[in-house]
Amino acid sequence: MLDQMLVGPSLAEIRTLYDGKPDEFVKWSVAPRRKRPNVIEMPSMVHVGEEGLRAIHEHVMKVSKGVKVREQKEGDPFAGSPPHVARPQVQRIFMPDAGPAAIAIALDGNVSLCWDAGECRLRYVWTGGFIDGHPYWKGNGSSQAKIIGKVRYKESSAPIPLGEPSKFLGYRMEKGLPVLRYRMGPQYVTETFSPLPDGAGFSRKFTLDPPLKDAQPVTFPSDQNITYTSDKGKWSGSTLTLQAADTAEFTVRFSLK
């Protein structure tokens, strides 16, 4: 590019750096090194040879004469793309504070969550919007997406201790929302998130196949601003104890305080 950076500086910027300095230009072309963070490093042009590089220098100085470096436009040109603005929405992308096989899910226009397909568990829930994927999408994936809004809930482990190994099996879309499927220990599990009305929070339906043989405590973090309720079992603080038969299907509601 004449006036805009792509891989390495624009020709106009090269002119500002190497005008009248062919020796330094050759040296730089052979060993460019990383000059800017978050930008792709220009590969060495050693294969061109010194004579060729000198000719390139001469050419660059000629064509870039009088050209000004263009300012890069900020913002995501595809922010309004139909799949991006659809709610609910599922988007797999590198996410902060999660493993690399992350799934971002917008339940509605307000409540969103990050589910980790590597560890097969919910990582966090936020309100106020979805993600800005432009930092990733504008390049080759060297930046993570940003969450839009505020994290309201976090989990540091799976609430049902079913054991290892865990294996992600994919998801089925129902009314725009994913029914996440995974195997954890001997159980096949599904997990479905839905928004609660009026932005009050979210609900989370679990199914276990086969259901457990014994009563099971399901422990959610106690230090969050959440009121937990459920359609089955008994609560003690943030721990829900389910009878064995209840583990086949149960729903927990997370009301944001």
């Binding site: 792509l6 294969h47 929405q89 590198f94 080759n140 129902e174």
Partner: protein, 500 residues
């Protein structure tokens, strides 16, 4: 008047061969609002084209109505897709191989089934995942790119982190002194399982066999018509120029970073293994794309179907290219069981342009070329190319002989021009540094050039062929009997084995 027309026709024949004389190039409209960088393409049985875009949409293009419909969304950097017989679509995205299925018949996928995800991810941007290619028995092959020291790894990784080499996990992780540590990490690195490997999967994805190692940035995997598993890779460390490989089970294909994932590996740091040992271990490339001339960043292999292009090209392989404004035809040859190739530019000096990442043929023989950049040099959108059905002069076949080459052309050559064919050859250095200059480049004397009685086969006597050398044939001076130039007027043939 007649004379004038004849004169004009003759003059036209004498002007440069242009692809636009025989092919139309047309940009098809991008789907509204979508980032039009194409990561994957495939043909549906009914003639529609499935396209996966950078931000994870899979869309279906219907040429009969020039319209797009949305099939799936939200995938993570899809870079390969395969349309299955039942209409479901296998997509290779960064974290997994996924089967997309429309079970309710509404035209959009509702099932996103994880077929295979048992490989490592460090979160490094350069760990792209490619494929799948399907063999005749239904086994699937995927290939995993290695990480780049342009960035460290993330705090959380998927898979076991390998403590090997000069930098430990803390030093490899974001937040460390990467300016210093990156120099010790290797230009490209493989610290989570099977980065730099081809993995062979059972048809349902439940079983995996580590199949072959030694890959760097293999943005092209596919079977040719005779069942060779072809993989292209990019110039870089351990890659003197971009190679084409004929991949076999248990082969090591040159890039050292992946070696520690070999079963029974002795624990050595791959950066500390000498070139001689690695060179003895590696399988040779079946072809080389000279950097800056033919390809800098070759992409997917695609079989040319019958009827799409001239008959001689049916069943042959076409390869895409990101940085040079052309595609590449593979002219395959075999010497004593060794697959080796001549590579010829196609659509060079045409309106095609750069960024040619993926290809698919439509039912009517149209070639759809999907473009991307991902912040590297490239382009976006889809160009449709259609042949006019008329013949033109091109190199159809190249066969290595004990003393030279036999070249078969699609039309009889003008015997008075055959002396203009010239040959050069060079080799490359195999080393850890990024790329290699041409080494030992020499003109090769053409002792004799003999044309067959039908005028289509030209036999060159070069004295001998040199193993390990890339032979460049410049055919720009050749003309057909009717005065036509050669479309794709250069060929680069890598002599792995010279016939004895």
């Amino acid at each position: 008047m007649k004379a004038l027309i004849l004169l004009t026709a003759t003059c036209m024949n004498l002007t440069a061969a242009t692809w636009t004389d025989h092919f139309s190039f047309e940009k098809i409209p991008n789907p509204p609002g979508i980032d039009p960088q194409v990561g994957a393409m495939g043909s549906l049985k009914d003639g529609r084209i499935a396209v996966a875009f950078h931000r994870g949409e899979v869309m279906i293009y219907d040429p009969s109505s020039s319209s797009w419909s949305l099939f799936a969304t939200g995938l993570h950097e899809p870079l390969g897709l395969l349309v299955e017989d039942d209409g479901s679509i296998l997509v290779m995205q960064r974290p997994e191989l996924t089967r997309l299925k429309d079970t309710d018949g509404d035209g959009a996928a509702d099932e996103y089934q994880t077929v295979f995800d048992d490989f490592g991810m460090s979160g490094n941007y350069h760990e792209f995942a490619y494929g799948p290619a399907k063999d005749k028995d239904g086994y699937l092959y995927i290939v995993l790119g290695v990480a780049s020291n342009g960035a460290p790894i993330r705090k959380e990784v998927r898979g076991n982190f390998l403590e090997i080499g000069q930098v430990d996990r803390a030093g490899m992780t974001e937040g460390s002194d990467w300016g210093k540590n990156s120099k010790l990490a290797g230009r490209m690195y493989s610290r989570v399982p099977y980065r730099g490997w081809v993995l062979k999967l059972s048809p349902d994805g439940s079983k995996m066999e580590p199949y072959a190692s030694g890959f760097r940035s293999p943005n092209g995997i596919g079977f040719d018509a005779s069942g060779h598993l072809l993989i292209t890779d990019n110039q870089g460390d351990w890659r003197p120029t971009s190679p084409l490989y004929d991949v076999k089970k248990d082969g090591f294909y040159g890039h050292a970073a992946s070696l520690p994932w070999t079963k029974g590996w002795d624990g050595r740091d791959p950066l500390k293994i000498g070139v001689t040992e690695l060179d003895a271990l590696q399988q040779p490339a079946a072809g080389y794309f000279p950097q800056g001339e033919l390809a800098n960043s070759p992409t997917m292999p695609q079989i040319i179907p019958a009827g799409a292009f001239p008959d001689e090209m049916a069943g042959k392989t076409l390869i895409g290219e990101m940085n040079q404004p052309n595609l590449i035809r593979v002219l395959d040859d075999e010497v004593d069981g060794t697959f080796q190739t001549g590579l010829v530019p196609m659509f060079d000096k045409s309106p095609l342009g750069i960024g040619n990442n993926r290809m698919a043929f439509g039912k009517d023989g149209s070639l759809y070329v999907g473009k991307t950049a991902l912040s590297w040099p490239g382009s976006n959108g889809i160009t449709r190319i259609k042949w006019d059905g008329k013949p033109f002069l091109s190199l159809d076949r190249i066969k290595a002989l004990k003393t030279g080459f036999a070249l078969r052309f699609t039309e009889p050559l003008d015997a008075s021009t055959i002396a203009k064919l010239s040959v050069k050859r060079h080799t490359y250095d195999y080393h850890q540094a990024y790329g290699s200059e041409k080494k030992d480049e020499n003109n090769v004397k053409v002792n004799s050039a003999n044309l067959s009685s039908d005028g289509k086969t030209l036999t060159l006597d070069l004295g001998e062929l040199k193993e390990g050398y890339l032979h460049k044939l410049d055919m720009s001076g050749l003309r057909s009997k009717s005065g036509g130039e050669v479309f794709g007027d250069k060929a680069w043939y890598q002599v792995v084995k010279a016939p004895k």
